[in-house]
């Protein structure tokens, strides 16, 4: 079987596994990273999102082969960064967390958005989070949190 090689949370990984295997299952079951969640299994809800080369990608519809040669950051890896601290504090201050199941995906979406657009407007934030479903918050306080993170993180992104 062909090896799939990629960088995961700063570490080089080489896996000899079925290249069509869902990347979410590889992360959760083979590598023990439980931060990405399965909400829908069809790329609709964003709970399984990770960063691949800095962009948000849903791993529940991603075959393992597609990460070959890429840099993957899950919430576990991202939570060791300074940017994460800024986003985390903003989510806490604004009350953007309820059940928490969508939250790691929302954090990843926030990072992906701010990477491309460090000072997004309200509407740009709504578009940036629109691939991540939340059933608890109505999004309002998450949007406020992203805005606060952008403001506090000036220069970081």
């Amino acid at each position: 079987m062909k090896k799939t090689e990629f960088t995961l949370n700063g570490k080089a990984i080489s896996l000899e596994k079925d290249p069509s295997k869902r990347f979410l299952d590889v992360l959760r079951n083979d590598l023990g990273l439980k931060g990405p969640k399965e909400g829908c299994g069809e790329g609709e809800c964003g709970a399984c999102a990770v960063l691949i080369d800095g962009n948000i990608v849903n791993t529940c519809i991603l075959p393992l082969a597609n990460v070959h040669g890429k840099t993957v950051t899950t919430i576990e890896g991202f939570s060791e960064t300074r940017k994460f601290e800024v986003i985390k504090e903003a989510f806490k201050d604004e009350g953007g967390v309820q059940c928490g199941f969508c939250t790691p995906g929302m954090i990843i979406a926030t990072e992906s958005l701010l990477n491309k657009n460090p000072s997004p407007s309200d509407f740009e934030i709504r578009i940036g989070l629109s691939g991540n479903l939340c059933r608890c918050t109505g999004y309002e306080l998450i949007i406020k949190a992203v805005k606060l993170a952008a403001k506090r993180g000036e220069g970081l992104w």
Binding site: A47, V97, C99, S130, T137, G138
Partner: protein
């Protein structure tokens, strides 16, 4: 004392943000097996035979014969079998589990099963009433006879799916001669009682632990009991840890949903056009089994007056059995259907007799001292009038309502007024739940809150810790509230019915006061509290007469919309709301809960379409069933009033469900103005609006 409402960081945010919070599917154990459900593929019939392929070693069939106790799921009405043996009553009904170490092999086994069924004609319409209820207020018969005019309308609402982002799931293992189950649940003791009954195991060998819960909204109230009974049988048979997690499509196809309804309303008017009385009948689609539906029906019927007072009422309702997936608990519990109907109806009546709808509603508005729909009393202050004024001002309601009278703009603004009874209906708290709480102080003077209330995002871990730490004047870090484990916590009741802050929080506050009085530094101390019904409350369950709830929360929603002239798609522009929930235990937490409830209420009104076709749910993915995204949601402006309730902790009343029930009628009223047609049915899809626009007489 500092203001309890002042927001603090939620105590569980760190682990949720960093992805280390542990949900059911995050639990693993060595030698763990997976389970998947084999389901009926017809809506009604009798099983003649099931042929299984040869099972590889280590794989098991777990079916009705493996249910060692009663083959029934313990609920309010016990008609759900754990696994059906012969009779199939809905498509998707569980027949057995296939259990084994590899998911792909389990799927292959299920593919190879042959089931012979003698099909029978299913029922999908409202013909087979399983529960009929009726109550009256005043002298309806006499009042109706004297009426000068009558107006009659019928309202319809559809299914609504809870769509928690974490699908249903359980993980369990053998322990102590019995079973231990960890699950995504709202009601640890509902699950425990159900598993004891289905397994025949004794109290001390069934242990239920709440995992972190990824949203529930009523969907994890009674349904998890079914899964738990199935899984317990699998654990007993295999002697191994077993995990049963639903995929999204399975979850949406077979779990309980909000009851579709049909509500007939007839108003009897006085000579001056005011309402003399109402005759109302509500039909709920119960699905194949009754479960909780009778209680849902009660709440729907009791909500008949909405935010108004009517002197004469004749209210009846039926839950109809149909060969469809059983319906059950969903935030609001029958009230969203009825509040949609009454809010639309009062406006429709006003317009039909050429009265100003706003003035007409104000005339009928409920006030302190009025008698409730069931002849109880609104004892506490009702502050709806200043709330309405506040909402109108903040939303610029009067000016916009006038501007949008211009038919060409296709915009509208609508206002809903509503209430929600807090806690269990009637004598449920006193007669059925009998909530108990326990506070334990250890030798380090740390306080442990021991209750069965589940934090599924709504925040009791934070708010109840705030209450207890404030009373005992301790830093919140000294007060602990782990996820409930039935080994340690008493039965403080299910996490439902907007009761957690008010009832369980109230008991914890009382326990903390007691502990404060007897506080001895450095000594282990334990205090208990048990629910006592407010003494002025009286309720006759059979006649549905008296005080249905100890307290009521109130709300005003104003929604502004634009309807696309070409596609008839609705764009929600803004939502303004004012709530009386007694007292906020944390401003940020309640604000978030309000936004989320409103999103579900708006979604119920226009986006969330679910239907069945010959008993098969047609929308079983998040692509087909649309819940609001960040782009669908409008900016929301929210105000919370201070109107403390004497018996709630710090004055708090119920809040969780209230925030959902007003969204759909406010939205529908706004759409009515935008399109100039009367609306009797939700969800308001573009197709529904198109039909209205092309229907001449409306």
């Amino acid at each position: 004392m500092k203001d309890i409402s002042k927001a603090i960081h939620k105590v569980d945010s760190d682990e949720k943000i960093s992805g280390t919070a542990k949900y059911t599917d995050d639990y693993v154990m060595e030698n763990m097996l997976y389970a998947k459900t084999v389901r009926a593929m017809v809506s009604k019939g009798t099983i003649e035979s099931i042929e299984f392929p040869d099972l590889p070693e280590g794989y098991f069939v777990v079916g009705p014969e493996d249910v060692k106790g009663e083959n029934v799921v313990n609920m309010i009405f016990d008609d759900w079998p754990v696994f059906t043996k012969k009779a199939i009553n809905y498509l998707g009904e569980p027949l057995c589990l296939i259990v084994g170490p590899d998911k792909a092999t389990i799927n292959a086994i299920i593919e190879a099963i042959t089931i012979q069924v003698k099909e029978e004609p299913p029922t999908f319409d409202f013909t087979d009433s399983a529960t009929h209820r009726h109550f009256e207020k005043g002298e309806p018969e006499k009042a109706f006879k004297d009426a000068t005019k009558t107006i009659e309308r019928t309202y319809e609402t559809g299914y609504q799916e809870q769509a928690y982002i974490e699908p249903q799931g359980f993980f369990g293992y053998p322990e102590n001669g019995g079973v231990t189950l960890i699950g995504s649940i709202q009601c640890p003791y509902y699950v425990k009682n159900a598993v004891m009954r289905s397994t025949g195991l004794k109290e001390d060998t069934v242990r239920i632990i709440q995992a972190d819960v990824g949203g529930a909204f009523g969907g994890k109230e009674e349904f998890p009991s079914l899964m738990a009974c199935e899984l317990a049988a699998a654990i007993q048979k295999t002697g191994k840890p077993v995990k049963l997690i639903y995929e999204r499509s399975e979850d949406m196809a077979v779990t309980t949903k909000r009851h579709p309804s049909k509500i007939k309303m007839k108003a009897y008017l006085n000579e001056d056009n005011t309402i003399k009385g109402l005759k109302v009948h509500v039909s709920l689609d119960g699905g194949a089994y009754i479960g909780l539906s009778k209680v849902v029906l009660s709440r729907a019927m009791i909500a008949v007056s909405g935010a108004y007072t009517f002197t004469n009422l004749d209210v009846s309702g039926d839950v109809y059995k149909t060969n469809t997936v059983p319906n059950g608990a969903f935030r609001g519990f029958g009230a969203p259907q009825m509040l949609f109907a009454i809010e639309m109806f009062i406006e429709h009546v006003a317009r039909e007799v050429s009265e100003d709808p706003f003035a007409y509603r104000m005339h009928h508005l409920a006030k302190q001292g009025d008698s409730t729909s069931t002849g109880g009393t609104f004892r506490d202050p009702i502050i709806l009038k200043p709330m309405i004024e506040k909402a109108k001002k903040a939303s610029n309601y009067d000016a916009l309502r006038r501007d949008y009278q211009n038919k060409d703009v296709f915009k509208g603004i609508g206002m809903s007024l509503f209430l929600h009874g807090c806690g269990f209906t009637g004598s449920g708290e006193a007669d059925i739940i009998k909530a108990k709480v326990k506070l334990k102080k250890d030798e380090q003077d740390d306080i442990h809150i021991l209750i069965a209330a589940v934090d599924m995002g709504q925040g009791p871990k934070t708010t109840i810790r705030k209450v207890v730490s404030d009373i005992l004047n301790l830093p919140i870090e000294k007060v602990h509230y782990p996820n409930p484990d039935t080994l340690n916590v008493p039965d403080s009741g299910p996490t439902v019915a907007s009761r957690t802050a008010m009832i369980v929080g109230g008991l914890c506050a009382r326990a903390a006061e007691k502990l404060k009085k007897d506080y001895v530094k450095g000594k282990e101390q334990t205090v208990h509290e048990t629910y006592v019904q407010p003494k002025e409350m009286e309720w006759d369950e059979d006649a549905m007469q008296g005080d249905a709830y100890p307290a009521y929360s109130w709300g005003v929603n104003i929604v502004e919309v634009e309807v696309n002239k070409g596609t008839y798609q609705i764009d929600v522009l803004k939502m303004t709301s004012v709530y009386d929930i007694g007292k906020a235990l944390d401003e940020k937490i309640i604000e978030g809960q309000i936004h989320g409830g409103q999103a579900q209420g708006l979604g119920y009104g226009y986006l969330e379409v679910m239907n069945h076709k010959n008993g098969r749910i047609e929308q079983t993915t998040m692509t087909d069933y649309i819940i609001p995204t960040s782009v669908d949601m409008p900016p929301m402006e929210t105000y919370i009033m201070d109107n403390p309730y004497a018996l709630g902790p710090y004055g708090a009343k119920g809040a969780g469900e209230l925030t959902l029930v007003g969204g759909a009628p406010a939205l529908a009223k706004a759409v009515e103005q935008a399109i100039g047609k009367d609306i009797h049915k939700i969800p308001l899809t573009p197709e529904t609006i198109m039909e209205l626009m092309h229907h001449e007489k409306n």
